[in-house]
């Protein structure tokens, strides 16, 4: 009855729960000798850890679209942004202003209908939000797990709906054209948020409760991987890969390519929305600029570097690309410390001399984003097919 992937999912979720509890409950002395929780003592590393989890969710969900289904989407951050803002609206209780939509006499029927639909949508969202808020209770408090899940879910669903919205019209497009459409969609989302006064517009939205922890982040990541893996490796899900390999042949084999593309878009958007919700409830502050084109490119780079369609590779690349910019921050220190230790060990450095890099070199190394870009170029030149292609691609028998 219990199948291998399901057992792995359950075990990993339990492990993350235990880890999350341990991080928040065990105390260690900090630099001043005071006893604090592990999270407080290693706040910087904890930040990176959660960042890795969120990056894994984003990259492995985008992998379903870009890697497995072969549709080049360049707007994943837009879905993440939608998720972040919708989830925050639920926990903060921000309501959309119910702008009256006057139906002008003499206006064309389609315009009136459009306004009517807009008004009905606003009303529906408003009532849903107020319903959730009465249920969620006062904002600015640590939400109950059920409430947090509800908020994440609203974010995920909003993103999935947007995924459907962008998926359906762009199905006729391929390659570069599709990339441009998704990019445009990403920008639309960003600009709309930028101009939405109730969401803080350009100033950003803050004050969300700190609800995200290792458990939520990595359980969601595990769920994402589980869903993508099972989708792609089942007979049902081979359809995604068939669409990528040869659309005409896929249609001729009875595969509804439209359905598969829309499904891939909506599923990936849903998980991007969850990632956005988690991000918003960790940083406790979001700005529209955080969900722009550059963020989308970051996620695409993770997928390409990990190897399109390789689950393991994409997860490793997501972790690597989150850690790398932070590691490079410490590079000059590491060279000095490591160099000193190594030279002492070899006996080439007398007494208490230490290695000290000239200030000019330190300055140079501090341009970490340039180093980061150079590393990316090097990786792409050395392994254009992706870090781990071949891994995690084995056929699951049974």
């Amino acid at each position: 009855m219990f199948e291998r992937t399901k057992i792995s999912l359950v075990i990993s979720v339990i492990l993350f729960a235990v880890a999350s509890w341990a991080l928040g409950h065990f105390h260690v002395p900090d630099s001043a000798g005071k006893m604090v929780t592990i999270i407080e003592a290693y706040a910087y590393y904890y930040d990176i850890l959660i960042g890795i989890g969120i990056a894994i969710i984003l990259a492995s969900s985008l992998n379903l679209v870009n890697g497995h289904t072969g549709q080049f989407s360049l707007g994943h951050a837009g879905f993440m942004g939608l998720g972040a803002y919708f989830a925050s609206m639920v926990t903060l209780g921000v309501q959309l202003p119910l702008v009256p939509y006057p139906v002008f006499a003499g206006a064309p029927v389609w315009l009136a209908a459009l306004k009517g639909i807009g008004w009905a949508l606003a009303l529906a969202v408003n009532s849903l939000l107020s319903l959730l808020n009465t249920w969620v209770g006062a904002a600015h408090e640590l939400p109950h797990p059920v409430q947090f899940v509800a908020a994440l879910f609203v974010g995920g669903l909003a993103a999935a709906l947007a995924g459907l919205l962008v998926g359906v019209p762009s199905l006729r497009l391929k390659g570069d054209y599709l990339a441009i459409v998704t990019l445009g969609f990403n920008e639309i989302i960003r600009v709309v948020i930028q101009n939405a006064e109730p969401l803080g517009a350009q100033r950003g939205l803050g004050g969300m409760p700190l609800a995200t922890n290792v458990f939520w982040t990595f359980s969601t990541a595990a769920l994402t991987i589980y869903v993508v893996w099972n989708l792609v490796n089942s007979t049902y899900g081979r359809g995604f890969v068939a669409v990528r390999d040869d659309e005409i042949a896929a249609e001729a084999m009875g595969i509804n390519t439209t359905k598969y593309k829309v499904l891939a878009f909506a599923t990936a958007a849903f998980f991007a929305g969850l990632a956005g919700g988690l991000y918003a409830h960790f940083k406790q502050f979001v700005t529209p600029d955080g969900f722009g084109f550059m963020k989308s490119v970051d996620i695409v780079v993770m997928v390409i570097l990990g190897g399109m369609g390789s689950t393991v590779g994409v997860c490793v690349a997501a972790a690597l690309l989150t850690i790398l910019p932070e590691m490079l921050r410490l590079l000059p220190q590491w060279i000095e410390k490591g160099g000193t230790a190594a030279l002492h060990h070899l006996g080439w450095l007398p007494g208490n001399f230490v290695v000290k890099l000239p200030p000019r070199i330190v300055d140079l190394l501090q341009n970490r984003m340039i180093l980061y870009s150079l590393l990316l170029i090097a990786l792409m030149l050395l392994r254009p097919q992706g870090l781990f292609v071949g891994w995690g691609r084995k056929v699951v028998r049974k």
Partner: protein, 258 residues
Amino acid sequence: MKPLLLLDNVTVQFGGLKAVSDVTFHLCERELFGLIGPNGAGKTTIFNAITGVYQPAEGRITFDGQSVTGRRPYAITARGIARTFQNIRLFGSMSVFDNVRCACNMHLSHGISHALWRGKGVVTEEREIEGQVMELLGIFGLAAERDWPCRNLPYGDQRRLEIVRALATRPKLLLLDEPAAGMNPTEKVELMKLIRFVQEKFGLAVLLVEHDMKVVMGICERIAVLDYGQKIGEGTPMEIQRNPKVIAAYLGQEAEHA
């Protein structure tokens, strides 16, 4: 015999060009039917019209008593028409086994939720599919290569795999688009045996587009000849060989060039 596929005055147009005009023919159940004609006569266009890749500008295509005109390719395949391609179109990144498994997709009783939950029913069904696929691969002598990437197969085997994949959709009619293209004489003889075997074993009707006259004349029960998008003849291989229009279309041309 009951007609299985019926093309009724089908016209396919690309802008101002009529690639196929007013073509009418029918196929009976379990019949081996050949479609021949010089280059650019519109054979593959007719194929693409039948399978829904192109929409006919005029005319009707009826399959098994129902109109399939203007339907999407996957819906037509679901009705029971499967095809192979002139230039091999296997799913390049997949194994031999997965290529065939893909074609079982539309017969699945479970949808996305089941694929995600992977309960007992799904696991049993996946096993059944594996059994069916392996049986098919076994019949065509590809069982040993099940986990090979399909690109690594020799050319002839790739062609065969395409036929296996088409058969996995459980069709009533199999369309073969120039299956002998690029084959040597020995492979062609093998292919003729294979097509006859498939037709008998699975009780299919087969529509064959082919350049190679030996293959077409050797196995087809009836043949239609196209030239410049129009049907210029139809009948048994013997009748076709004596048809003056057909001789003009083929030999007349050659005589001019010679």
